[in-house]
């Protein structure tokens, strides 16, 4: 499991009964941003409300400015403006709001501003929906943001702390999007350990960046590039993502040392050692899948789970190194790239690709627009993987849980 016990050496933590959104707000409070800008959208709203309460109660840093902006586009532009001045900044959104700020995402990432944003995953209209899937953030896959998906409120809080640490590291300097499933995580309550501010400060040093405006050394930021420099700048961005892989893993280990909880960097294998049938999932469905794995293991079936925590950078090496005893690998997508398949499935297959590799794969699309992904659905997926491993026919790409088969 993720925890090494209730006590750890370096910090006292109090346990509180918090929703996912409230847990994120606590994480943000512990990171002490100087500027927060946000615009309400379901199911992010209670996060913004909690931060407003913190601001009103003086729980945020005394100097923290909370901008109630007129749109998500403005929210991202405002936190970019703050980052340009060298301030730590935070925003949060969801779904249509994320799509609306799409233009600013690439401004922020191209200029390497280390902004952290929480995204309450929600489907995208139309059909209009307030309920969860990953089609909002998956649509922003190539926006130049690190994307992390969490499984619980505790992981959400902890990942906010990790996210700033990763984003602000001089060799990374990339914005980070922390994705949390709308409603199933944002609005459900669990006991969450909230670290003390001093321990958080020990983990996350103040933002110290050269990438800011300065009266002593004036500069121009977010320049235009003519074609002669553009390719190199993108190459450096890609290098930063590849370098971030080690740093994300290291940050998780250091977090473990201080707080006693860890999330295994980019991807976490669960009971995979001798597993023949393995499901890879991102987000809250990982929690349900753990329960199913435990049940099937108790029945003697060799099944395992891979929780994909990072969509970008992608755990390429992790998937490339999968070998026997894994015979069949399924990927659960709460996303679909129309005309191809689930987005996660494509990335997993591409990472595993080597000529003559023996692992067979299935892509499952499930849980779109808040559709429940039940334990029975997941058991069914493991059954299908077993069929595949046994050489029985299975469609490679399947929708799971539909009213018609």
């Amino acid at each position: 499991m993720n925890e090494k016990g209730n006590e750890n050496e370096n910090g006292k933590e109090k346990s509180e009964f918090l929703s996912g959104n409230e847990a994120i707000a606590e994480g943000v409070r512990l990171c002490g941003p100087q500027v927060i800008a946000a615009y309400p959208i379901t199911p992010q709203t209670t996060l913004m409300e909690k931060l407003s309460e913190f601001a009103a109660d003086g729980a945020l840093s005394a100097s923290c400015k909370f901008l109630l902006v007129e749109s998500e586009h403005s929210a991202m532009a405002a936190v970019m403006g703050a980052a340009m001045m060298g301030s730590r900044a935070f925003t949060a959104t969801s779904s249509q709001g994320l799509l609306y700020m799409c233009e600013m995402l690439s401004y922020v990432s191209g200029s390497r501003f280390p902004i952290v944003m929480a995204n309450a995953n929600r489907g995208t209209a139309t059909p209009w929906t307030i309920f969860g899937d990953h089609r909002d953030s998956f649509a922003m896959r190539d926006s130049g943001w690190i994307q992390i998906y969490v499984e619980s409120g505790q992981e959400a809080l902890d990942t906010i702390l990790q996210a700033y640490r990763i984003a602000e590291h001089p060799s990374v300097m990339l914005p980070v999007m922390v994705n949390i499933d709308g409603f199933t995580l944002t609005h459900t309550y669990e006991l969450v350990k909230v670290p003390e501010r001093e321990t958080a400060d020990a983990f996350l040093p103040p933002l110290n960046t050269f990438n800011k405006l300065s009266l002593e050394a004036p500069k121009c930021l977010s320049f235009a590039f003519w074609p002669d420099y553009h390719l190199e700048s993108r190459c450096l961005q890609q290098k930063a993502f590849l370098d971030a892989v080690n740093f994300i893993e290291r940050t998780d280990e250091e977090f473990y040392g201080l707080f006693g909880r860890r999330y295994h960097g980019l991807a976490e294998p669960y009971r995979c050692e001798d597993a023949e049938c393995v499901l890879a999932v991102a987000g809250g469905v990982a929690g349900t899948t753990r329960v199913v794995v435990d049940k099937l293991r108790a029945e003697g079936r060799k099944v395992g789970l891979i929780k994909v925590r990072c969509l970008r950078p992608f755990p390429m090496k992790f998937f490339a190194s999968l070998g026997s005893p894994c015979q069949a690998l399924g990927v659960v997508d709460r996303d679909i790239s129309f005309g191809l398949e689930g987005g996660l499935y494509t990335d997993v297959k591409a990472s595993m690709y080597k000529p003559g590799a023996g692992i067979r794969t299935l892509g499952f699309v499930a849980g779109l627009g808040g559709h429940d992904v039940s334990k029975a659905d997941i058991e069914l997926m493991y059954d299908k993987l077993r069929n595949l491993a046994d050489g029985k026919p299975e469609e490679e790409h399947q929708f799971i849980g539909m009213r018609w088969a």
Partner: protein, 302 residues
Amino acid sequence: MAEVGIMAIDFKNLSDRELMYGQKTCPGCGATVAIRLALKILGERTFLCIPACCAAATTNAYPQTSFFVNNVVTAFPATGSTIAGMAAAAEAQGLEDVTILGVAGDGGTADIGLQALSGACERNDNVIYLCYDNEAYMNTGIQRSSSTPWGAWTTTSPAGEGARGVVKSRKNLFDIIAAHRVPYCATASVAYPRDFMEKIAKAKAIKGARFIHVQAPCPTGWGYPTEKTIEYGRLAVGSGLWYLAEYENGEMKLNMTPKTFKPVESYLRGQRRFQHMKEDDYRLIEKQRDREWALLRERMKS
């Protein structure tokens, strides 16, 4: 006509130092005059933000910049919101005696940037927003904006057989921003540099959201000889088709009140964008002008 002094500037001892030069604007660019003069007054402790527009495309291309102050480029709709964040950060950091300045064109202000500007004004963020109005999307090649005047030809409002250019009145940005009850809002013209610079100086001394809408003639888009930018700016004001005004403490006032207007033809005839106009069009514009001025005089002190 009488010019009303706004704020004393010691012009004789004004710094020779240019904070903007080397830009690749067209010869005779009115927007350049506006930004250069504004920076002269605002000084080195200015943090400048420009969206994708003429002023950004001609000043910043890696590794060169035309500015000697801190400056950033932001997205087209995002001037108001980016400077809002910059101002919030400046305040959070306790930076004192600095000016957060947004500079955007008419399209970036009256069209795609209006939402963000409105937000900054409504929150009374501590920023100056300078809109240089060349009355069309010039950076993309002369397309109509909501600030293009009635009758003007642009590439998206053709004129000729059966078409008369733009056939609707321009948006009044001054009224829109004044309706936000900001501490300071003004119109100006690059052809009246003293009035313009005094307004910049006044804005600098005030805290909160300040907006200055400066007409900046564009020889390329309007179609007149490059040496006539100031002349056309003065003709616009002289013929009553642009006015110099302020909004402060809940009151509007005119800074210049022509006793008689120059004929509108004196302003329109020499510009390529109005070449298609006939006598009827001039009279219609005259009528629009007189109606607008009757309204202005009714509600403004002069």
